[in-house]
């Protein structure tokens, strides 16, 4: 009896255990299914100017485009290595002008249409001809030849060792050409005036990425849903809502209340004040930075902004103090306009503060008693930095050499217009990379004729800025690879430091803040925040 009783009890215990295990497994499966079906909410101040890959040019655009439009190549998590995306393999000619790509035959757009070489050609030509903010990426494009539906050859005008990196930029996302053309898009030379698809792209997407556009309401939310027929590894969440949230404080409050899962514009000072076991804060170095800049040819400066004057002002800036004051020390000094970690930046000399030398230089330039000059800047927060605060810090610093700054805060759009016309003698700006590669910085900040800051600084007319040597070095960098390329970019970096036109002030760390049930968060130099890798447990 006793034995029988034990058997019964053991049987009952085993049955109960099995039932509990079964129930647990069922619950776990259901939990996993729920997690996979759940949406994530990203609280973010959106700066979207368009949802059309050829017209968009902003930080939020990078997040959206990388989620919806696959590119030929992309950037590995180390933020340096180029890895396949739509192209499974590629060959580069020895002179770095011819690039052959083999597309993945399995790749399809979200409507099931195969991705072909024609779509790639059309998308790249259109990006060039729309002449949007990111069109400069296609400046070196000469021709695209289609060998077969899954093979194409791209030729550049000059050697371009960074072309593979350029193709990982989110703006070079591949579009379903037939679908887009049916709604007013075209890739003709006249596309900048004849392409009418911008509005259609605000409510539709035509990519081959892990998500598709569900809806977009300006100043409200951008909603993405998982591409159920994605040809690659499917997204881990059913959808993403990027909720317009203007400031860091509100983003932090939404995170604390559970109204948002992710916020990535919380400044380090605010992050330090939040002690919540349910929120994870990860601080990572970024390639973003904020800089001060001179336009010696701009009207409105009370004194000629000669090299001595520029150097004096650069020496008066307390760079370490600026990092402390704007991001609570969570940032880095940046020597040149090429961000730390990019090719050619190793061992560049960090900016220094020397008030005595600055005063001596000003006296030598003929201004021992200083002068008063305006500082126009966009009154906004970027990368966790309040630019108004930074402007006030510069005002404090330059007062030490009797240079009195008159602060002129402007809206972003007014400032962006003013720096080109009529020009601003002294300003503050900011920059984030479009891909991993130093050429974009040489192109934007280099003292070369025709380049944006080259024009603003007056290359060719401003003494000491002839542009020829820097252009030669840039061409050398584009034609080289490996250490030779690094050496050429280092030369450009040193020249940028010597020019004293662009003065990088702060390279802030990026605060990734997210709920503890979120994983897969990382900062990408090309894509900002790769949404397809995020998991909600």
């Amino acid at each position: 009896m006793m034995a029988t009783g034990n058997i019964w009890r053991r049987g009952l215990f085993s049955a109960a255990s099995l039932m509990i295990m079964g129930a647990s497994a069922a619950l776990a499966t259901a939990g996993a299914a729920r997690a996979a079906d759940s949406e994530i909410v990203v609280a973010r101040a959106m700066d979207l100017n368009s949802l059309d890959p050829a017209r968009a040019y902003c930080d939020t655009c990078q997040i959206y485009l990388s989620a919806v439009y696959d590119t030929l190549l992309t950037l590995a998590p180390d933020n340096k290595t180029i890895v396949p995306d739509l192209a499974t393999s590629w060959e580069v000619s020895p002179d770095v002008t011819t690039f052959t790509f083999h597309l993945n035959p399995a790749a399809t757009f979200s409507d099931g249409t195969p991705v072909t070489a024609t779509d790639v050609q059309w998308s790249l030509e259109r990006l060039k001809n729309i002449k949007g903010g990111a069109a400069y990426l296609m400046d070196s494009l000469k021709s695209i030849d289609i060998k077969d539906p899954h093979t194409l050859v791209i030729t550049t005008k000059t050697p371009n060792s960074e072309f593979l990196g350029i193709l990982s930029a989110t703006y070079v996302g591949i579009i379903n050409s037939k679908l887009a053309m049916a709604h007013g898009a075209n890739d003709a030379d006249t596309a900048s005036t004849t392409d009418t698809a911008d509005t259609w792209f605000l409510s539709h997407s035509a990519g081959s990425g892990a998500f598709t556009l569900q809806s977009y309401k300006a100043d409200d939310a951008l909603r993405l849903k998982r591409n159920a027929s994605y040809w690659g590894k499917k997204a881990q969440v059913s959808g993403v809502i990027i909720k317009q949230t203007a400031d860091a404080v509100t983003q932090a409050q939404m995170l604390q209340s559970g109204a948002a899962d992710i916020a990535m514009q919380i400044d380090p000072d605010t992050a330090k004040t939040i002690h919540d076991a349910n929120i994870v804060f990860t601080t990572v170095p970024s390639y973003n930075y904020v800089y001060a800049a001179f336009s010696p040819i701009a009207k409105g400066s009370p004194v000629p902004l000669t090299h001595d004057v520029r150097e004096a002002m650069a020496l008066a800036i307390d760079y370490k103090g600026a990092i402390d004051f704007t991001v609570g020390g969570a940032g880095n000094l940046q020597p040149s306009a090429i961000p730390n970690g990019f090719p050619g930046t190793a061992d560049l000399p960090a900016p220094v503060t020397d008030v005595a030398k600055a005063k001596a230089l000003l006296a030598k330039a003929g201004y021992p008693n200083g002068f008063k000059i305006g500082l126009e800047f966009p009154a906004m927060d970027v990368y966790g930095i309040d630019i108004s605060l930074l402007a006030q810090k510069l005002q404090q610093d330059l007062a030490k050499i009797n240079v009195s700054l008159v602060l002129k805060p402007e809206t972003f759009n007014v400032w962006a217009g003013d720096i080109d016309s009529p020009g601003v003698p002294f300003t503050i700006g900011f920059f984030a990379p479009d891909y991993f590669g130093s050429a974009q910085y040489a192109q934007y900040f280099g003292m070369m004729a025709g380049m944006p800051w080259g024009k603003r600084a007056g290359v060719g007319t401003t003494p000491g800025l002839d542009g020829a040597a820097e252009l030669a070095t840039f061409n050398k960098a584009l034609a080289a690879a490996g250490p030779a390329q690094e050496a050429a970019y280092k030369e450009i970096g040193l020249q940028m430091i010597a020019d004293k036109i662009i003065l990088p002030i702060v390279s802030p760390d990026l605060v990734l803040a997210y709920a503890k049930d979120i994983s897969g968060m990382r900062y990408s130099a090309c894509c900002n925040l790769p949404l397809a890798e995020i998991v909600k447990h």
């Binding site: 939040i274 004051f325 108004s388 006030q392 602060l407 805060p409």
Partner: protein
């Protein structure tokens, strides 16, 4: 001695005794308000001589909470919030004084002329005032300040444009009341010039409600000017103006002390002017007092 002079002298003679006779526990808010306003004026005038810190220079470690060294803490640039708040008194009181001095001058002059002359000129001035008053004050001030560009002077101009019609209406109504009095008829009969009748026999008897309104409006002007600075249309950094300081504090929400100083200052000064305005109204217009 004209009739209005007799009235004015009579008022002056009884001024102190009337005030002293009315002091009671109900006067406490008025006295409190007057003391705070007096203190604010003294601070505004004298602060450069005794301030321990420069309002736009580094005073200590950044983002320090209130302590014995920095009673209201420090802001994101390490500036002393209390010192900046006290310096802010200069800007707020100056802008209020400027707006009311110019706004009242323009408004009362136009209102007096409109009420006295009447006819087409009256209609033209009053319709202009009506149009201005038909816009919500903050909206109109924002539109004007935005079109002129940010800055304290432009803020003052915007507020003057918002404020003058109030006083034009008030003065016109007073002039219409007074111009029917006997002493005015006597002046007309005696052949006095219109200008003399208006400015010597009518306007001096119209100031009571203007004075009351001015006192009450100081707080409103300070609030509106701070509001314009808060949204970036008024004072610009690094000016220690209260609205501008609150805007900076809003960006560092968890460092609550940055906005606390200027916030309390706006509250205290506006409330004090309201208390004082109530007192002045009770004093010059006994009918408005509530019997208890």
């Amino acid at each position: 001695m004209s009739v209005h002079t007799i009235v004015a002298v009579g008022l002056r003679r009884g001024l102190f005794s009337r005030f002293a006779g009315r002091v009671s526990w109900r006067s406490a808010p008025v006295i409190l308000g007057a003391v705070i306003i007096l203190a604010a004026i003294v601070i505004a005038i004298t602060i450069p001589w005794w301030s321990p810190y420069d309002p736009i220079a580094l005073a200590g470690r950044r983002l320090q909470p209130p302590s014995l060294e920095h009673w209201c803490g420090t802001d994101a640039l390490g500036r002393d919030v209390l010192v900046r708040t006290l310096y802010g008194t200069r800007y707020s009181l100056t802008i209020a004084a400027l707006v009311l001095a110019v706004g009242v001058s323009i408004g009362t002059l136009l209102g007096a002329v409109a009420g006295f002359v009447g006819g087409l000129l009256d209609s033209a001035i009053m319709r202009l005032a009506d149009i201005t008053l038909s816009f919500p004050p903050i909206l109109l001030a924002m539109a004007i300040a935005a079109s002129l560009g940010p800055g304290l002077v432009h803020t003052a101009v915007a507020l003057i444009i918002v404020w003058w019609p109030i006083y034009a209406r008030l003065m016109r109504a007073q002039v219409l009341n007074v111009k029917g009095l006997d002493h005015v008829d006597a002046a007309v009969v005696s052949g006095a010039m219109p200008g003399r009748i208006l400015f010597k026999h009518i306007v001096p008897l119209c100031w009571s409600p203007i004075l009351v309104n001015m006192t009450m409006d100081v707080g409103q002007v300070i609030l509106l000017a701070s509001g314009l600075s808060f949204i970036g249309l008024g004072a610009q950094p690094p000016t220690p103006e209260w609205g501008q300081m609150i805007a900076e504090g809003a960006g560092s929400f968890y460092s609550w002390w940055i906005a606390m100083g200027p916030g309390l200052a706006i509250f205290l000064v506006s409330l004090s002017f309201n208390f004082l305005g109530d007192g002045v109204r009770d004093f010059v217009d006994p009918r408005s007092r509530v019997s208890t």
